[in-house]
Each structure stands twice: as C-alpha cells, then as structure tokens.
C-alpha cells in the first residue's frame, strides 16, 4: 500500500499536518502506536506565555528573544501567523476565539486558581477578565478528585474575589471526568439537571465556574442549557488529565481526518525506514508491514510521548527513524528546573522546512520533524505547546506538499 505522506504520531502537530495535506488533496496515512498528548492539554492555544519567567503579552513580538533554532525562529513571525490563522479558520480550531485581540494573550484561569497566558481559547473556558470582580461560585462534583476546587476558591479569596465553593452529586453517580462527561453527553435534558442545581446555587452568582467535564460531544449544548437554566455565565476550568478540552480537540481532529478519508493506522509503530540516499521511500512497522511513501512527517511527541528516548546514561535517541538528537545540555543538570529544561530542549535540529540533517549540511528531502520532537524549546517554561505544534505541523505539511509537486 502506498500513500503520499505518512504522518507518524497523533500529536496535535500530526493531526494538523494530516489535515492540511488532506485539504491540499494528498493521500495521508497516520501511523501511531498509542494516543497523543492532547489528552493532557487544558484546551486553548498557548503560543508563548512566558519568557524568562515573565508573562508575555504579545507572543509574536516575543519570539526574537528565543533561541536561534527555536521552532518559532525557524518559522519566522509571518509564517507563524499564517499557520495559526489557518488553524483558526479550519474545522479543528472551531470554537476558539481571541480574547486579547489577534496578537495578544489573554489570561486563562487554572484549577489551582492561577493564570496561564493563552492566545485563543473556547469561549466557554474561564478567563481572568470574565471572572474578575464578579460574584463567583465554584462547582465541584462530589467524589470527583481531579478538580482541586478548594485550591481554586482559596486562591481567589486570597486575591480579594468573592467566591463560594459548592459540591453537588454528579449526574449518573459517575465520579471521573470522562464518565461525568459521558453522562452529560447522553443526558435527556441537561437544562432540567441545571434547573435542579439552581436550588443550591447562591442567588447572587454572576459566574459559575465548573470543571471542564460538561460533555465530550455535546458540551456546547450542555453549557448553553446551563446558562439558560441558571441565568448566569457558566465557564469551564480544565481539570487534571484526562482533560476534556484537549480530548475534544483530539476528537475534532480525528473526525476531520475520517471525513476527508484519511487513513488512521492505529497501533502501527514505525520501527524503521528504507531510504534512497536522502529520500525516505517506505516506513516499516514493528509487525513487519511496510508502507510506501513520498514524504514522512515525524510527529511522535518528543520525550513526553516516546518520540525521543532517554537511556540510563543520559543519552537521547530518536527510535523510529534513527535520527540524530541534539543535546545542548547534559541531562544530569543539578536542580529540578535545569534538569527538566535539558530534557525539553533536547531534540531534532532542522532547517526552516523542519527537515532534519541528512549528511553534512544537506537535509533529508522528504522527511519533516515537528512538535515536541524539535530541539531548542521548552513548552513548560514557555507555555507554547499548541503554538509550536500547529506552526511546525502546518509548515511541515506545506513543505511536503511543495516537495511532492503536482
């Protein structure tokens, strides 16, 4: 079997690359052994939230302060903007809105009561601006352990906000994020359920903060029904993983790929490739099956998802294609922050089209590397995971498409 492009991995960068290539009329096969890190993502498009420990207001303006080989520097502000705008207008980014204007971050509320700079997010995700100064109620579902509402409330109170925390039984007596979400998805009349809730809701509530578990499919309807029933603003705050906002995005990606007749080879672990000099011709799975390809996009998720492996000597390797990984700092760095930084910054170095080096200064012609696999960035310190994923995935797709010709 042969495909124009094989995308390896179901990270956001992989979904984006596959979606773009399908849109451009290419045949695409996504090969991925397991699921991706969107299951952990709190939702929202984090492009560049922090620089040197300080919050960033204008992410595009901030990129010049990044490492020369940071993925954003490879992309440049214009191409970055093109990629993010594409995402915004694609079915994948449906429901995301800018709150700080197209180029400015706004602040999202976290379940620890802290703030995370985000470029755009779903309109029902709680932002600092919408909640500040309002009378708030924080809702938790009894027995649901993944939403530290006590912390959220305490932190808001410390900041002088007016907050009450309440707990109610979850629908269907389910107690984890996924099953509660399923219960909301299959509920006959969410409006009635929230109607019952109004009995315990403090009367002066302006904003109700709920854990982001109001469904994985029908959440928009559920939130709309809640707003009507309670006559106040209802906003979601992401929970610990599994994180429904990320999972919804993942579901949207998968749905789109299916609709566009993309192929998903789930469980297919790429364990090697055949190449003709600087061109990959096929990839081979751990079961011995091969797929003939014209281009490959490696979106296997870096250290987090096993796209990069670390051995007990502190050496980092790329297991699927055997690419060289660059380690700028030893992993044995003393200090947690430094050690984590070293793990993040290790990765594959590429050119502007996200092609890794083949030999000498020459890049692979039809192989692209994206997202957390890339070197010289740190999503934890920068708060930039989705931004880098979308930018590198989209640009890799563009480059692969160009390369394939007509």
């Amino acid at each position: 079997m042969n495909y124009d492009v094989v995308v390896i991995g179901t990270e956001l960068d992989g979904w984006v690359a596959a979606a773009r290539l399908l849109e451009l009329g290419r045949s695409v096969c996504i090969a991925a052994p397991g699921e991706g890190s969107l299951h952990y993502a709190p939702g929202g498009l984090h492009v560049l939230g922090h620089l040197q420990g300080q919050p960033v207001t204008e992410p595009y303006a901030g990129i010049s302060a990044l490492h020369d080989h940071h993925p954003y520097r490879l992309a440049g502000a214009d191409r970055m903007h093109a990629a993010l705008s594409w995402f915004d207008n694609s079915p994948l980014g449906a429901g995301f809105t800018y709150r700080g204007g197209q180029r400015c971050n706004s602040l999202a509320v976290t379940s620890a009561g802290l703030q995370l700079p985000v470029l755009s997010s779903c309109d029902h995700q709680a932002g600092v601006e919408q909640v500040q100064g309002n009378v708030m109620t924080v809702l938790n579902f009894s027995g649901h352990r993944d939403f530290p509402s006590g912390l959220l409330a305490a932190e808001f109170i410390r900041n002088g906000e007016r907050v009450t925390a309440i707990a109610v039984d979850p629908p269907g007596a389910r107690t984890d994020s996924v099953t509660i979400a399923n219960a909301f998805d299959t509920m006959d009349d969410p409006g009635a359920w929230f109607g019952d809730l109004s009995a315990v809701l403090p009367g002066d509530t302006d904003v109700l903060l709920v854990p982001a578990v109001l469904g994985s499919k029908r959440h928009r309807d559920v939130i709309a029904a809640a707003t009507r029933a309670l006559d106040c603003t209802v906003l979601e705050v992401p929970t610990l993983p599994p994180c429904l906002p990320g999972i919804r995005l993942r579901n949207a990606c998968e749905r789109y790929i299916h609709e566009q007749a993309g192929t998903l080879r789930r469980g297919f672990r790429v364990a090697g490739m055949d190449a003709d000099q600087d061109r990959v011709r096929s990839v081979t799975g751990s079961t011995g099956q091969t797929i003939d390809v014209s281009a490959v996009i490696l979106a296997t998720g870096g250290v987090l998802m096993g796209g990069l492996e670390v051995d007990s000597h502190g050496k980092i390797t790329e297991p699927a294609m055997g690419l060289d990984a660059c380690q700028t700092q030893p992993l044995s760095k003393v200090g947690a922050e430094q050690a984590v930084d070293a793990l993040h910054r290790a990765g594959i170095e590429t050119d502007e089209d996200f092609r890794p080096r083949h030999s000498g200064s020459r890049p692979w012609q039809n192989l692209h590397v994206t997202g957390r696999n890339l070197a010289h960035w740190n999503p934890g310190a920068e708060i930039s995971a989705e931004g880098v994923a979308i930018v590198s995935g989209w640009l890799a797709a563009e480059a692969a498409h160009r390369e394939l010709g007509s």
């Binding site: 620890a112 006590g150 992401p238 870096g302 670390v310 051995d311 044995s332 050690a339 793990l343 993040h344």
Partner: protein, 517 residues
C-alpha cells in the same frame, strides 16, 4: 499519668531514631523529658536509609558481637511494634565474583551470633526470585526485616507524649545556657519564636549534626560523615532483602520496602551534614554495581535517588583506611550534664537509648534499670503485621477505588482528611511521610494538586499553593536524578500537569533545598 515533676529534666536534641530511642528510655526511667526536633520526626538520616531492620547477618563475619546485638534488637522491635515491621526475610547470595570461602565463614558467624540461618538450594532461590542473577552458587536465608521509619517514630513519640513527655517538632536548638559549667537551659527557636527550656541534662542525639550541637555545648566531637546514596526502583523487584555473600561493603543490598525496592549504597566522606545531593556519577556507579545482582538493571524504572549521611564517631588513633566501627558511642561530657550519642543504626536505636539512659541515670545517681525492651509501645499492645498490600486490599474491600487521593500508593482521601482534622497536620511533607502520598511512580504528578485541593478545602487560610509548589519541587529534585526511560516521560508529564495545566512555576531558586532540611 503526668510524671513531669518526678525526675530530673532532660532535653534530648534530635528526633531521629536515636533521639526517639533515648527519649523513650529516659521517660520510662522517670525523667522529665523534652525531645526537640528541627523538622519533622525522622527528617534526617532516619528516613534517608536503607529501610532494614537488620538480622545482623551482614556483620556476622566482620563484627560478630555487633551482629548478635542487631539480632537481639530486631527481635525486640518486632515484638514492640509489629505494625511498623515487615518480615520480608533476607537472602545472602554468592555470585561468581564473590569470594568462595565467605559462605562457610558467614554460616559460622551467624551461628555464633545466634542468627537463625539456613542454607538454601540456589536453584530454588533463583526460581523464587526471578529478577536476580542466574549465577547464584550458594544462598542463605536469614531473618532480615524492614521497618517503616515514620510509623515507628510516630509510635515512639506518641508513647513519650502519653507518658507526660514533650515532643517539640520544628524547633531548632540554637544555644545552651551552661552557667557554672552545668547545663541550665536549652534555647530553641520555633515557628512562634524562641523558647527557653530549663534542663538538668542534655542528650545530643543530632545524628550527623551532632558535631554542631557539641560545638554549641563547647565540646569537640570528631565525626566522620559518610554519605550513602540509594536508588528507588518502581516496584518490588525481589521478595526478600538480597545481600551479596561477601564482606559488607558499598553497593551490595537490594531491599524490598513499601511498594518499591531500594538498591544501595554508595559511600563517600562529606563535610556537610545536610547534604542530600546525589551526584550523577553515583547513579552510574550504583547501576553498574547492581547489574551483577539484577541483570538488565538499566532497563528497570528508577523513581528517584536519595542520600543519607551516616554519623560515626571516629575512635582515637583509628587506623586510616579501616572501615569505622558500626557500634555506637556515648560520650559523657564531664560534669556538665551533657552527653552525645552517635553512630549505631536504626536497628539498634533502642539499645542505644538504653545505653545513653544508663549514662544519664548514673550521672544523677539514679539506679533504675531500662524498661524500654519490655514495655509495650502502644497501650493496646501493638497492632498487626503490616505490608503495603494492606492499602490496596482496604480499597478493594471498601470499593472506594475512585476516592483514592494518591492512586499509586492506594491512599484514600478520607485517611488524609482524618489526619488533617485529627492531628492538625497540613504540611504536605508531613502528610506525605505519614501516609506515603506521592511515593509511587507518578511522584506527585496527580496526587499533589488533589492534596492541595483537599487541604485548602479544609483550611482556607493554609498556604496550600506555596506548599504545592514546594512539594512538586521536592519530588522533582529526587526524580530528575534518574530521568531515563519511562521515568523521563513521567517527569515531562509532571511538568505538563504542573506548569502547562495548573500554571505553577518551577524555580530552582525558590526552593533551593526543596525539602524540610
């Protein structure tokens, strides 16, 4: 029950195994006892150790007398506090590199020290311990056990309190009033300022910090501080404590304790008693040394590395190069009423208390023998034997699976609430140590914020946010020492949860030690 006015007032400095052993021995002899501890009970070497309640077999050849003492004490502790002891059993295995003649000497030494020893068929041993080397040519079974340090120390502290003694946690001894060459009082500093504790005598049981305390007493105690580092493997690789059948040295024990197993230790002389840093090279050395015992060790997941510092008093004119004696030392600082007790081990901490008690009693001319070996620790005569499956079994029996706050260690949310409400404990490290929260593979990735949510819910004024930050920094500090394989992924997932989801900052400068110490 209050005997506080009965006898002379003694302040014991240090709430590790030694200090707790001393304080309990003294209170049973009728002294008015105050135990002062800088942090939480056992936050020093007494929790940064290998976890073993030694049968003594390890020293059967090198120090037969000490070996016998260990065995005797091990039996006593098990009788006094079965709920803090797990009878894992121990094995001594001869591997191809180990001296051929050691086995016979070992067997004879054990018999001499009255340590029950049995030679086993190596084939049976290898069948029942699938992780260990297939090259075992001799194997012996001995009654090694493990001790849950915080469980035992808290039992001892509760007993001291019950008998009218005081246990001051989070108080640091800063100076002594030695007017007229005699101990008059001890100055301590705590969360709510400084305190003066009137005292007739002081026992310095500050472990590796004993030298510092001795200096405050105007004394010079020559300590050799030896740091030992340990690797924590993610599950029990072995069912019994596995020792190499050779003269005791570094790098030769794998101990199953809690839900994990510990391999150690390195051994290097250090200056700073507070050092807990494990150098990268030590980690490599530990892995290399473990390989012959557990082949393929580098493919196993290691959750973290830690180090403890052994305080040993160097006897005068001790030949350099010879390993220091294991037995403890009591130093009587003349007529001042001050004593220093140092060295020894967790296993022998009760006997050390008895020895110090003898010195203090004779100083005051009191002729009352120690009762610490025979007086039960808890009023109900001790609980039942415990092992970590108890947690899991409890959750299965009660079907509270989705209520566990710490999933890796199967710790129910209600247990935590109880401890917060009943004992007023809110500091995350205190809760962690008592309940084992955050000890498992995820190293706090998920339980950290759940704990913060719960504590903040129970007490809105408690700075749960700051605690959470410090808790995570401390978990990461140990975990990043062993960041390879799936544990590297765990660390990045932890980072994703804390920074990218919760919005918590990670700053090495904000938590330089990241721990109580």
């Amino acid at each position: 029950m209050d005997k506080s006015t009965a006898g002379p007032r003694v302040v014991v400095v240090g709430g590790g195994a030694t200090g707790c052993g001393v304080a309990r021995d003294l209170i049973l002899r009728g002294f008015d006892v105050t135990l002062v501890e800088y942090g939480d009970l056992g936050c020093g070497t007494s929790s940064r150790f290998h976890g073993m309640l030694q049968s003594g077999a390890r020293y059967a050849v090198s120090d037969t007398v000490y070996a016998g003492e260990c065995m005797r004490e091990r039996r006593i502790i098990n009788k006094l506090a079965p709920e803090a002891v797990e009878e894992t059993g121990g094995l001594f295995v001869s591997l191809p590199d180990d001296p051929a003649d050691y086995g016979d000497k070992f067997f004879a030494g054990c018999q001499e020290a009255d340590i029950p020893v049995r030679e086993l068929d190596p084939a049976d041993v290898m069948a029942s311990e699938p992780a260990i080397s297939r090259g075992v040519h001799r194997a012996f079974a001995v009654p090694d056990a493990t001790v849950q340090p915080w469980r035992l120390l808290n039992l001892v502290a509760a007993d001291i309190r019950r008998r009218g003694g005081r246990v001051l946690l989070r108080h640091r001894v800063t100076s002594f009033d030695m007017t007229g060459g005699r101990v008059r009082a001890v100055e301590v500093e705590g969360p709510s300022g400084s305190l003066r504790l009137e005292a007739d005598a002081v026992v310095n049981a500050a472990g590796p910090w004993s030298g510092e305390i001795a200096r405050l007493l105007g004394q010079d105690v020559a300590l050799e501080l030896t740091k030992g580092s340990i690797l924590v493997f993610a599950h029990r690789l072995v069912t019994r404590a596995i020792n190499r059948c050779r003269m005791p040295s570094s790098f030769d024990i794998m101990v199953p304790t809690g839900t994990v197993s510990l391999f150690g230790t390195t051994s290097e002389v250090v200056d700073d008693p507070s050092t807990t840093l494990v150098r990268p090279q030590e980690v490599q050395d530990l892995l290399d040394a473990a390989e012959p015992m557990i082949p393929g060790i580098r493919d196993r997941r290691v959750l973290r590395a830690w180090a403890g510092v052994r305080p040993i008093v160097k006897p005068d004119n001790w030949p350099s190069g010879r390993s220091l004696p294991r037995r403890h030392t009591v130093i009587d600082h003349g007529a001042s009423g001050a004593f220093t007790i140092c060295g020894g081990s967790w296993t022998t901490h009760r006997m050390m208390g008895e020895d110090a008690g003898d010195h203090v009693a004779s100083f005051f001319g009191i002729n009352r023998p120690s009762e610490s070996a025979t007086t039960p620790l808890s009023p109900d005569g001790g609980g039942s034997a415990w092992n970590p499956t108890t947690n899991y079994q409890g959750v299965e029996d009660a079907q509270t699976r989705k209520r566990t706050l710490c999933e890796c260690e199967s710790i129910d949310r209600d247990l935590v609430s109880q401890m917060v409400n009943d004992e007023g404990l809110k500091r995350f490290h205190d809760l962690r140590r008592r309940l084992r929260i955050g000890f498992g593979p995820c190293q706090g990735t998920f339980c950290g914020s759940r704990l913060a949510g719960l504590v903040a819910h129970l007490d809105q004024d408690f700075p749960a946010q700051k605690e959470l930050e410090a808790f995570w920094a401390e978990r990461l500090k140990g975990a990043t020492r062993t960041a390879w394989g799936h544990h590297a992924r765990q660390i990045i997932l932890s980072d994703a949860v804390f920074r990218e989801n919760l919005g918590i900052r990670l700053d090495d400068k904000a938590h330089p030690a990241g721990d109580d110490r």
